[in-house]
């Protein structure tokens, strides 16, 4: 009788370990996949930039500086490679540069009406969305992973099984997105 009880307890513990381990592995892989997805979308943006530059080059003869800034930012972002901090900084530069291109393009009615420009604008804004959604998905996955890692029964074994805390993807505090808009009356 005693042995049956002991056996049952051991079996329960083993089952718990198996389930916990598998669940955590699933969530961790989801986190990794989500991280990869951000990279995919950033690359997509890099691929779109030459098209954009070509499409607007003819119209923006006098705004060479804006276009150069985009090209430089893109080159810097590609050069940054896997260095997360520098990469994030460079990508923020790309975002800024792209915004200024579209802001400048607003002043050119012909360009604004051009079919090519419209579809490029859609592609780029969609890419911005994708980057944002990829980050969001990454952060959601991380939250799910961290929660399941740190909640009660799992927290006892998660560390021992080698599941580390994952950091959220946060915008740099100095990034322009985080700047508080100044309202003046």
């Amino acid at each position: 009788m005693l042995w049956i009880i002991v056996g049952a307890v051991v079996a329960l513990i083993v089952l718990f370990l198996i389930f916990t381990y598998n669940r955590l592995v699933g969530r961790r892989n989801q986190v990794r996949n989500a991280w990869g997805q951000i990279d995919v979308q950033l690359t997509r943006r890099h691929d779109l930039i030459p098209n954009l530059v070509n499409a607007v080059k003819g119209y923006l003869e006098h705004e060479r500086g804006v276009l150069e800034r985009v090209t430089e930012a893109r080159a810097a972002a590609i050069a940054a490679g896997g260095d997360v901090e520098r990469r994030a900084e460079a990508e923020n530069q790309v975002t800024q540069a792209l915004r200024s291109v579209f802001a400048v393009a607003e002043g050119y009615p012909q360009l604004r009406a051009s079919e090519n420009m419209l579809s490029l604008q859609e592609e780029l804004s969609s890419t911005e969305n994708r980057i944002a959604f990829a980050r969001q998905h990454y952060n959601d996955s991380v939250m799910e992973y961290n929660t399941s890692r740190e909640t009660f029964p799992a927290v006892l074994v998660a560390g021992a099984l080698g599941f580390r805390h994952q950091a959220l993807f946060q915008l740099d505090a100095a990034a322009p997105e985080r700047a508080v808009p100044q309202v003046q009356f």
Binding site: L118, E123, S126, F133, D140, L168
Partner: protein, 680 residues
Amino acid sequence: MSQCTQCGLFNPPLGVTCLSCGSTLAVPAASAVMAPLPGMPAGGPSPLAAPEPTLSPGPSRQEEYSHILGPVDRESFFAAQRRHRRATWKMTAACALAAVVTGLPLSLALTPIIFAVIVILTRLAGFVTTVPVEVWDAYRWAGSTFVRVGDYFIEEEMQGPAPIAETLAVAAIWLVPGILLMLLVWPILRSLFRSAGVGGVLLSLGARDPNMLDLEERQLVNVVEEMAIAAGLPAPRVMLLDAPVANAAVVGSSPRDAVIVVCRPLLDDLNRDETQGVLGHLIAAIGNGDLRVALSVVALFQTFGFAGALLRAPVSREARQTLWRMLRYVFSRHPPAKRAEEAQRISGLLTGAVWDLGSDEFGEGMDEKPVEQRRGLRVIWLMYLPVITMAILVVGLIMEWPREGFTIIFGVLGALALATLWYQRVYVAFMIRYAIATVRAVIMLPYYFGVIMPQLLLGMVIPFILEPLLGLLWRTRRYLADARAVQLTRNPDGLAYGLRGLVTRGGGIPGGKWATPLFIVCPERLSYAQIDPEMAEEMRENRQRFRPGVIGDAQAMREQARGAGVKMVAQAIAEGKSESRSYTGSTTGSLGGLHPPLHKRLKRLRSMGATAPGSEERARIDAGYSRRFGWLMAIVGGGLLTLVAVLMVVAAALMLAMGFVACSVMMMMVYGLVIALAPA
């Protein structure tokens, strides 16, 4: 925060009159918030922050919020998802239970047939190899136990101790084979029709790939891909349907082969944020596994239909045709679109067979119109033939006629009889058919009852128990997908305005009723015309737009639909009538429908931060009714409902009892078969 134009006081957001001077507050138009943001990520994902309620767009009419006493109860989309997911689990369990209960009477009737087949096969096997005696002994044991238990309950009127073990054994013998068969058929049917997917025939209505040169369609593809990224799913394929109504659906059987079908007018009617919300719902549905659920439910009904068709095959030509068609489908090698059509048609036949008893051959020939006899020689005189013969024999023997005399007289009589039969051959043929039908009906009677009873019972259980539960489950899953869509887009207003826009545009379902569950909205049962003047105006305008003359291709759609073998509601849609009820064929629908009403969806979205105005009026009227007539409704309605429920339970019990008796007669016949076939 709205500033009073009269006294300049800043009022709290939901007020409609100024707190200081009482004058009506000017409020910004609700649509102002919905201006699309060019080049900006919609909803600006900031993942962990709960959505901040936007306060600016207030009520557009004075009464709009007057019944809301306090702020809306807030709920984060994570909490909402957890809540709806828990509800989903409970309802799934309830549905599973209801499905089992529904399947029991069917298995009662199926089991004798399975046993009969097994017994006959065993006998046939006996010709080829030697069947161990124990097998026949087991059959005999099962049969005799059945009889003993039956005797105990029927004839001896339950004297002596109840044979519990034996009763359990009989219950197992009686129920398990049928249940096993259905449990086996269910996944087979599921995978069989999987290739067609749920609603695959929608694609055969003329769905096309998006045109990437069209900016709107390109944007649609982008939005779908964005949402797929947000959900961490592979991007589903997008197809467009040139239907006259705005709606969107997801079809397929799993996240891998899901296809999003969007009716083209949706792109014209909704802006990017709204489209994003709507597609977020569909992608969320894919991620939550709604396609799998839909497939399982359809397969469940197909299983019941299959069991019904199997039962009725001996007495119904239609059932035999359905089974034959299914067999042909299994081995057919058609292109996917054609296969999907065929699958849809067979599925319709099967699900229709669940309780549609159709025409059967029971009594066929008996209800035939009697054929008139022709003038002249009537068959009736043949009745006197034996008497006449006897009379002639007696007279002839007494009068000592010669042998030739008898021969001549009987020859003439015989020739006359044959001539009569030939002359009245049509009538005679009728009589023979009638006699055969009568004999067959008498022989088939227990079988017929055994088959009909479970099906009648199903006809009661399915629409009143199983379908409402499934509807409830599906509606909860809609709420779940709505909450998930808010998590994906972080923009509850996008979905709220999207849903509102689609519903006010009629929310017609292209492709027939069966596709209803797959679509994001369905025609509202209640006419908003009486309730919400603003929405009514919108609906009227849209109705003008959807005149058949304006659309032009409604006819084409009808043709296509007919080609696809689908009962089409295109006519209704084209003429601007929304359907009054929202159910699809026999698989779904009934009490409450499959889609939550708009005002309930909007209410939940508002609690997640949406500001879309909507059908508060509807809710207010509901509340008013329940205040004024609530007690009356409760007494009268409750009493009536209880009465109906009691009557139905009694009827169901009676049917179950009759079916029980009929099925046990079938079991006895199988036992007779065992005794007849068993080697000595």
